[in-house]
């Protein structure tokens, strides 16, 4: 294959069967900012370029639609790529004409999800995809209802139009005399969020699992439209309870980038503290959940105590056990006091010590190891094709970490501790999360020592514009893209780590027994709310 460099125009090389591949040309560059390079393709069909990008090792991580983007008419599609070894992202914007596009799901399987999401939201259809079912719109929504279109008013839907359920959702069916299906959910026996799991099992062994989410889709993206940037941050906070600081931080950074605001070093440091605190307590509840699901409540309760202590620290710092309101555009909440931080410093050290003790104990109990080891293996090959990130990817031998690969905020100055586990089973995820909590607690202590004095918050002068920001939430890479037009949010797109990671479960459970599903699910611990935006 020929590589084309610079502005050379003889661009077309050939690929034997599946059509053309086409390299990216610098002349297509449309905008470049701190985090991403935007290219506008003068072509309607992006497939050859995207194939070429795959050949160069770039990976599709997000793909969404925007109506009335800059001077482009109709619905534009933005393909976001991650480039190995480069902190910046690449965004492709093909010339959008009409409502029919070529699917890229054959190149990047994860694109199928984004395509279904766009199809539901904007009514755009994709040809050549292997899956064209609805994603978040359930049967109750009538055909032709596409809530993200600007023509649909940003109000509650009128109930009586949705009375007649449409065509039922078609689950993948596995045929065979011994195969039978076990539907689980969306309403579960425990107090958890709604999600439907369709197991195909032979005896106790799972041969297929299909997950259906979206039962509590809240329309977060639509909700943000037309709101002021500050309101947007409050909405971002409520995306997922245990990632509220992470999401607030992501959107705030995007807004700061658009407005060109430089926040104070003190705010940078304390944001780091807040983010790591959130990571620590979220992952602690993951650990507790994992041991609960193998019926070892003795260790679970000890872990939950630690989690509770960290959340009380959060409450002491910013008045919210889930750190809500702690991060705002321009800096951090002004109510954070020196005393609460000192208290956190002391607690973090104590918790680290206690956690070591608990984890060593748990990992030496034979029956625990028996349940954890070799259960629910996420194969490393899935990491790229499903765009997996966070602990799920790192437990399968990947070093992917947004804080290191695409450093932002304080992480540009101080590199956090990096951990990686091989194996990809529940065991690997347990010990990985344990080590991440330790690393976070260490990092908090380090930051608290070096936090300078200064203003907590600086005013933000908002301009119109758009920005893409990636943050590492406790569950992995969260992407925030916001487009401010006329001083209000025109479009806000969030991709949480859970959105992609959910599909790792479908692969991880195959060959395991049904009774092991809860612990596998908990070890990946994905957010329903973070997906039902």
């Amino acid at each position: 294959m020929n590589r084309i460099s610079g502005n050379n125009i003889g661009v077309i090389t050939e690929d034997s069967q599946s059509g053309m591949t086409l390299s990216l040309r610098e002349s297509w560059l449309f905008k470049e900012d701190q985090t991403a390079r935007y290219y506008r393709l003068p072509l309607h069909d992006p497939v050859p370029v995207i194939r070429a990008m795959k050949g160069e090792g770039k990976n599709l991580i997000l793909f969404f639609g925007v109506e009335d983007f800059e001077d482009l008419p109709g619905c534009s599609l933005l393909y976001v790529f991650e480039e190995p070894g480069s902190p910046g992202f690449v965004v492709l914007i093909p010339e959008g004409r009409g409502a029919i596009h070529q699917s890229v799901a054959g190149i990047f399987p994860i694109a199928s999800l984004f395509e279904r999401e766009i199809a539901d939201g904007f009514g755009v259809s994709f040809t050549g995809s292997f899956d064209t079912r609805r994603l978040f719109l359930h049967e109750a929504y009538p055909p032709g209802f596409h809530p993200l279109r600007r023509s649909i008013p940003n109000t509650a839907p009128v109930q009586d139009t949705f009375d007649k359920p449409g065509k039922p959702y078609e689950f993948r069916s596995i045929e065979g005399s011994a195969v039978f299906q076990v539907p689980v959910g969306p309403v579960h026996a425990g107090i958890i969020e709604p999600g439907h799991f369709r197991f195909s099992v032979i005896g106790e062994t799972i041969v297929n699992l299909e997950i259906r989410l979206g039962f509590l889709h809240r329309g977060v993206e639509k909700l943000a439209e037309g709101r002021s940037p500050d309101d947007g941050v409050r909405i971002a906070e409520s995306i997922s309870g245990d990632e509220s600081a992470g999401n607030a931080c992501g959107l705030s950074m995007a807004l700061e980038q658009i407005s060109g605001t430089q926040i104070s070093p003190r705010a940078e440091h304390l944001r780091g503290v807040i983010l790591e605190l959130e990571r620590a307590y979220s992952l602690l509840s993951d650990l507790a959940g994992m041991v609960t699901d193998i019926a070892h409540p003795v260790s679970a309760s000890r872990l939950m105590v630690l989690r509770e202590r960290l959340q009380q620290e959060a409450d002491r710092i910013c008045g919210s056990r889930f750190l809500k309101g702690s991060i705002c555009p321009g800096g951090i909440s002004e109510r954070i006091t020196r005393e609460s931080l000192d208290h956190l410093f002391k607690t973090a050290g104590g918790i680290e010590h206690e956690l070591d003790e608990i984890a060593t104990w748990v990992l030496s109990i034979p029956s625990v190891i028996d349940r954890f080891a070799t259960t629910g293996v996420v194969q490393p090959e899935l990491i790229r094709s499903l765009a997996l990130s966070g602990p799920v990817a790192r437990a399968s031998g990947s070093f992917a970490d947004t804080r290191i690969d695409h450093p932002y905020g304080i992480y540009q100055e101080r590199v956090p501790g990096q951990v990686c586990e091989q194996g990809g089973d529940v065991m690997a995820r347990f010990s990985l999360k344990y080590q991440e909590i330790r690393a976070s607690l260490r990092y908090i202590q380090e930051l608290l020592v070096f936090t300078p004095d200064g203003p907590a918050i600086v005013p933000v002068q908002m301009h119109d514009g758009f920005a893409l920001v990636a943050t590492e939430s406790p569950r992995g890479m969260a992407l925030h893209w916001v487009y401010i037009k006329n001083g209000v949010i025109h479009r806000y797109k969030v991709r949480t780590a859970s959105f992609c990671n959910w599909y790792a479960i479908e692969r991880a459970v195959i060959g395991n027994i049904v009774a092991d599903f809860p612990v596998i699910n908990k070890s990946l611990n994905l957010s329903y709310a973070g997906t039902d935006l």
Partner: protein, 313 residues
């Protein structure tokens, strides 16, 4: 016709019925303490049953007569079984000429009823619970038989009262056969009453439950009856273990004082055993479903070893 067997039977039933919920709560309490929780008050078992008795029963649309009679039948069968196991008093003449084999059959019958009940309501989880329960019982049945056979062999009789009488003649803790037998019986208690590491009595994760799965569609008085049956079953098995291993204090010659003392002693021994069960439950994680046969195999091995050591020593 003597009055003694009737008296003994009634006394037995009374003690078993009254004491059973207490032991269940003790186990819960120990587990709670291990988790650094306060845990339920010691009489919680009785409160729960009383509360459930007052509640309305709801039947699934698909439920047949099985769902209606199973709760009563289960408890009734277990009470019959209770007549075979002297708790505090070994009377000269027993009310039921039952032996360990009948006892085994009665236990198996309740299992069967429960499995039917799980299937009856027509829900997925009930069916899954029943299927799991039946596959477990298929593997545990041989083990149970061998454990009981070992008991019978050691005591040289099939009648449970005679076994206990034999046990009183042995110095506790000094006989390897009795020790081995106790290990097997203990495993049997764990498995038969669906405790960790075999089943988790506290889980309501629909995908992992066995016993709870079958009871998922049961409510109100029926649920109360099942809770009680479960407790009675546990007490009966515990009695087997207690009276084989530490029969100390059990009454053979009737006297009111002796009976009172025996009751108190049994209460203490039962509580101690419940605490042990609670501690064991707290220190293991649940086994992977397909690994459970290994546990049975251990019990099987120990029982065979019991017979061996009885032959060889």
């Amino acid at each position: 016709m003597s009055i003694t067997p009737v008296l003994a039977g009634l006394l037995n039933l009374g003690v078993v019925l009254l004491i059973s919920p207490f032991y269940m709560t003790v186990v819960k309490k120990v587990k709670a303490r291990a988790q650094r929780r306060e845990g339920p008050p010691l009489l919680q078992g009785y409160y729960t049953i009383a509360k459930l008795f007052r509640k309305e029963v709801v039947y699934s649309d698909y439920a047949s007569f099985i769902s209606r009679i199973a709760p009563y039948a289960t408890l009734a069968i277990l009470l019959v079984a209770a007549l075979l196991v002297p708790v505090i008093w070994i009377p000269e003449i027993t009310v039921a000429e039952g032996n360990i084999i009948v006892f085994l059959y009665l236990l198996a019958f309740t299992r069967f009823l429960l499995a039917l009940l799980g299937l009856d309501a027509g829900s997925t989880f009930g069916g899954m619970g029943s299927s799991r329960e039946m596959s477990l019982s298929a593997v545990i049945e041989p083990t149970t038989v061998v454990v009981f056979a070992a008991m019978a062999y050691v005591a040289g009789t099939l009648a449970i009262p005679e076994m206990f009488r034999h046990a009183t003649t042995i110095i506790p803790g000094m006989s390897p056969t009795i020790l081995l037998l106790s290990v097997s019986l203990f495993i049997l208690i764990i498995v038969e009453t669906g405790r960790i590491p075999v089943d988790n009595p506290e889980t309501h994760l629909e995908l992992t439950m066995i016993h709870e799965g079958m009871l998922l569609d049961t409510s109100g008085r029926n649920l109360a009856l099942f809770e009680l049956s479960h407790a009675v079953k546990q007490t009966l098995l515990m009695t087997l273990l207690i009276n084989m291993l530490i029969p100390f204090g059990i009454v053979q010659e009737v006297s009111v004082l002796g009976l009172a003392l025996a009751t108190v002693l049994f209460l203490l021994k039962g509580t101690a055993l419940s605490i042990v069960i609670g501690i064991v439950e707290s220190s293991f994680a649940k086994m992977r479903f397909f690994r459970v046969p290994n546990l049975f195999m251990m019990a099987f091995f120990f029982s065979v070893l019991t017979i061996f050591s009885e032959v060889m020593l």
